[in-house]
C-alpha cells in the first residue's frame, strides 16, 4: 500500500512539474507582451523596457520559468527602490490591472469558488444518489421513468441556459438581488444572506451534475443486484433493507468515488459558467474577466495552473481511496 501511494504521489508531482513547463511554454509563445500591457495608456518604449526588466521578462524563457518555480516556494520581489513590489510565497506573479499579487487576487476569489463547489457537491450527491437508488428499486414504475426524464433534461440542458432560467426565475420572485450579489457575506454573521448569495448557483450546478449521478447510481445498483452474492444474501434471509444498504450499495457506490473526486476537483478550479451567470467573483469569473479585459497573463497562468493542480491532486486522492477500498488495484 505504502509503495503504491508513494508511486502515485511521485507521479502526481511529475505531472505538476511537466504541466508548469507546458503552461509556461504555451503562454510564453503567445503573441502578447505582458510588459506592454502593464503600463496602461501613457506608454513609451522606455517604460515598456523598464517594466520588462522589472517583471523579469528580459531573460530567456527557461530562466523565467525557473524564477517562477522558485517564486512559488520563496516569494518574489519585482523592481527595486521606490517601485519595489514584493509577493510572498507562493508567488504566481503580479497582476497589474488589479494592482496586487496574483496569489492575493486568487485568495480573495477562492472562498466563492470553494463555497460554490462544496454546496453544489453536497446537494448533487444527495439528490443524485437517493434518486438513483429509488429509481433502481422501483425499476419500470413511473418513478423510474421520472428519473429517466430528469437524467435526459439535466444532461441536455446547457448549463448556462439552465443558469439563466434559474436566475430569471429567482429575480422575478425577488429572491435574488443583482446589486448585493457578488459581495462576500460570512455565514457566521449573516447565514441568510450567505445562503441567498449561493443557493441558486448551487441549484444550477447541482441539477446538471445530479442527472449524471442519478444515472450512474441507478445502473450500478441494478447491475449489482443481479450478482450471485446478492441472491445468496436474500436466500439466507437477509432483509431487503440490509441487502440494499449492507450488500448492494457498498459495491454499487464505490465506482462513484472516482467521478465524485474528479468532478469536485474540477470545480475547485472555478465553475466559469455558473460564476459568470450568477456574478459570483470566484476563480472562474475572475479568469474570464482577466482574459476579456486586458489579457492579464500572470493571473490567467495562475488560475490555469491552480485549476490543473486541484484536478491532479483530487485524481491522486481518488486513486489512493480506491486502492484502500479495492485491494486488487494495489497489486496491479
Amino acid at each position: 500500500m505504502l509503495k503504491y501511494i508513494s508511486k502515485r504521489v511521485i507521479y502526481a508531482f511529475v505531472m505538476l512539474f511537466v504541466l508548469s513547463i507546458v503552461v509556461y511554454l504555451i503562454f510564453g509563445l503567445v503573441p502578447i507582451d505582458p510588459a506592454q500591457l502593464s503600463c496602461g495608456t501613457h506608454c513609451n518604449p522606455v517604460v515598456v523596457e523598464a517594466n520588462r526588466h522589472r517583471l523579469g521578462l528580459d531573460i530567456p524563457l527557461w530562466h523565467q520559468w525557473w524564477n517562477f518555480i522558485m517564486g512559488l516556494f520563496q516569494g518574489r520581489t519585482y523592481g527595486e527602490g521606490a517601485a519595489i513590489i514584493h509577493c510572498p510565497a507562493p508567488a504566481f506573479g503580479y497582476s497589474f490591472p488589479n494592482n496586487a499579487c496574483v496569489s492575493e487576487v486568487m485568495a480573495g476569489a477562492f472562498p466563492f469558488t470553494f463555497t460554490l463547489a462544496v454546496g453544489a457537491f453536497i446537494l448533487w450527491m444527495a439528490v443524485g444518489i437517493s434518486f438513483g437508488i429509488l429509481a433502481a428499486r422501483k425499476k419500470g414504475t413511473y418513478i423510474d421513468r421520472l428519473s429517466t426524464a430528469f437524467v435526459l433534461i439535466g444532461s441536455s440542458l446547457p448549463i448556462f441556459i439552465l443558469g439563466l432560467l434559474i436566475y430569471i426565475t429567482a429575480f422575478l420572485l425577488h429572491m435574488i438581488d443583482p446589486i448585493v450579489q457578488g459581495t462576500w457575506v460570512s455565514p457566521l454573521t449573516d447565514p441568510i444572506g450567505f445562503f441567498k448569495n449561493f443557493i441558486f448557483a448551487w441549484i444550477t450546478l447541482a441539477l446538471a451534475y445530479a442527472a449524471i449521478y442519478t444515472r450512474l447510481t441507478r445502473s450500478n445498483v441494478i447491475e449489482t443486484s443481479s450478482e450471485d452474492y446478492i441472491r445468496t444474501a436474500r436466500a439466507k434471509g437477509v432483509s431487503e433493507r440490509d441487502v440494499l444498504y449492507r450488500h448492494n450499495l457498498r459495491t454499487a457506490l464505490a465506482p462513484l468515488i472516482t467521478n465524485a473526486g474528479l468532478d469536485f476537483g474540477g470545480l475547485l478550479g472555478g465553475a466559469i459558467i455558473t460564476e459568470r451567470v450568477f456574478q459570483l467573483p470566484g476563480l472562474g469569473y475572475m479568469s474570464i474577466k482577466a482574459v476579456l479585459r486586458d489579457y492579464d497573463l500572470p493571473l490567467i497562468m495562475g488560475t490555469t495552473l491552480l485549476a490543473a493542480a486541484f484536478f491532479i491532486f483530487f485524481n491522486l486522492i481518488v486513486d489512493i481511496a480506491y486502492a484502500y477500498l479495492d485491494p486488487r488495484v494495489r497489486i496491479n
Partner: protein, 324 residues
C-alpha cells in the same frame, strides 16, 4: 463500454425461406423500432437542413441577416409585443441593432453546426488512427501516446479554452491561416479536438487490444492476411459502431460548447451571429424583451435534446448491452 457487435442472424421469412441479416440491418431494425429516436433524428435533420438552406429560407421571407430594420424599433425596442413578431419577421427583431432574429439564428446555426460537426469528425478520426496504432505498435509508441492522453485529460478544458482562445486566435491570424471569426472558428475546433481525442483514443485502444485476440482475427492472420488487411477488413468494421456512437453523443456537447464560449465572449464575435452570441445579447435584454431570449434558448434546448435522444437511440441499436 464493451461493444458486443450483433452477430448476423438467420431468420425465417413468411414463405419459409431462410434469410441472413447483416449486423447493419439488425442495428437499423432496432433503430426503426425506437420511435423517440426516429422523431429526434427527424428534428435534428430538419435543423441541419434549414441551416444549410439559410439563404433560401431568408430569401423566401424577404429578410436579410445583415440588414437593419430600424423602422421596426422604437427606442431600440421592437415595435409591438412579443419581440416584434409579425408576418414579415416571424421570430421578431433584435433589440438595439434591429436585425431579423430568424435570419440571425439561421445563419448562426450554420456556424454552430459546422464547428460541432468538424470537431466531432476530426477527434473521432484522430482517436481511431492513434488508438489502432497504439494497440498494434505497442512499446514506445503506445506508452508515449498513453502519457500524452493522460496529460491532456488532466487539463481543465473550459479553462484552457478561455485562457488560450485570444492568443491562439492572434497567432492563427498572424500566420495568415484565417481572419477574424474564421480564425476564432479554427481555434475553437483546434482546442476542442486536442482535448477530446484522448477519451476516445483510450476506448479504441482497449477495444482493438481485445478484438485482436478474438477468433476471427486469429483466423485471418492464420490464413496469412497482412496487417493492413486485418486492420481494414477485420478491425475497422467492428470499430464503426463505436465511432458512430461517439460521434452522435459528442455532437450536442459541442453545439452547447460553442454556445457557451460565444456566451462567455471568447468565441465567435459580432457582426457574425451564433446561438451563443444571440443568447448572450438576449441575457441583458430579457426584462424588456423576454421573447428575444425565449426563442434562441428554446431552439438550443430542442436541438440538443433531440441530438441526445438520437445518440441514446443509436447506442441502444448498435450496442444493446450498454448500461442505461
Amino acid at each position: 463500454m464493451a461493444i458486443i457487435y450483433p452477430m448476423s442472424a438467420t431468420i425465417k421469412l413468411s414463405d419459409g425461406e431462410l434469410a441472413q441479416r447483416s449486423p447493419r440491418q439488425i442495428a437499423w431494425m432496432r433503430l426503426k423500432r425506437n420511435k423517440v429516436a426516429l422523431v429526434s433524428a427527424g428534428v435534428a435533420l430538419f435543423f441541419v437542413v434549414i441551416a444549410f438552406l439559410a439563404p433560401v429560407i431568408t430569401g423566401l421571407f424577404h429578410v436579410d441577416n445583415t440588414k437593419l430594420y430600424l423602422d421596426q424599433l422604437i427606442d431600440g425596442q421592437p415595435k409591438g409585443g412579443f419581440g416584434g413578431i409579425s408576418w414579415s419577421h416571424p421570430f421578431g427583431i433584435e433589440p438595439g441593432a434591429g436585425r431579423d432574429l430568424m435570419a440571425l439564428l439561421l445563419y448562426g446555426s450554420r456556424i454552430s453546426f459546422s464547428i460541432a460537426i468538424i470537431t466531432s469528425v476530426t477527434y473521432v478520426g484522430i482517436g481511431l488512427v492513434l488508438g489502432i496504432s497504439a494497440a498494434y505498435m505497442g512499446g514506445a509508441v503506445d506508452s508515449i501516446l498513453g502519457r500524452i492522453a493522460d496529460f491532456l485529460l488532466s487539463f481543465p478544458t473550459t479553462f484552457m479554452f478561455v485562457a488560450l482562445s485570444v492568443p491562439l486566435t492572434m497567432r492563427v491570424e498572424a500566420l495568415g491561416i484565417a481572419k477574424d471569426n474564421g480564425a476564432r472558428i479554427v481555434v475553437m475546433v483546434l482546442i476542442l479536438t486536442v482535448f477530446s481525442w484522448p477519451g476516445f483514443y483510450r476506448v479504441v485502444r482497449s477495444q482493438v487490444l481485445s478484438l485482436r485476440e478474438r477468433e476471427f482475427v486469429l483466423a485471418a492472420s492464420a490464413l496469412g492476411a497482412s496487417r493492413k488487411r486485418i486492420i481494414f477488413k477485420e478491425l475497422l468494421p467492428n470499430l464503426w459502431p463505436l465511432a458512430i456512437i461517439y460521434l452522435s453523443i459528442s455532437l450536442p456537447g459541442y453545439l452547447a460548447a460553442e454556445a457557451v464560449f460565444s456566451f462567455l465572449g471568447v468565441g465567435v464575435q459580432a457582426p457574425s451571429s451564433t446561438w451563443g452570441l444571440v443568447l448572450n445579447d438576449a441575457s441583458s435584454f430579457w426584462q424588456r424583451d423576454p421573447t428575444y431570449l425565449a426563442i434562441p434558448a428554446g431552439m438550443v434546448i430542442i436541438v440538443v435534446l433531440s441530438l441526445n435522444l438520437l445518440g441514446d437511440g443509436l447506442r441502444d441499436a448498435l450496442d444493446p448491452k450498454s448500461d442505461r
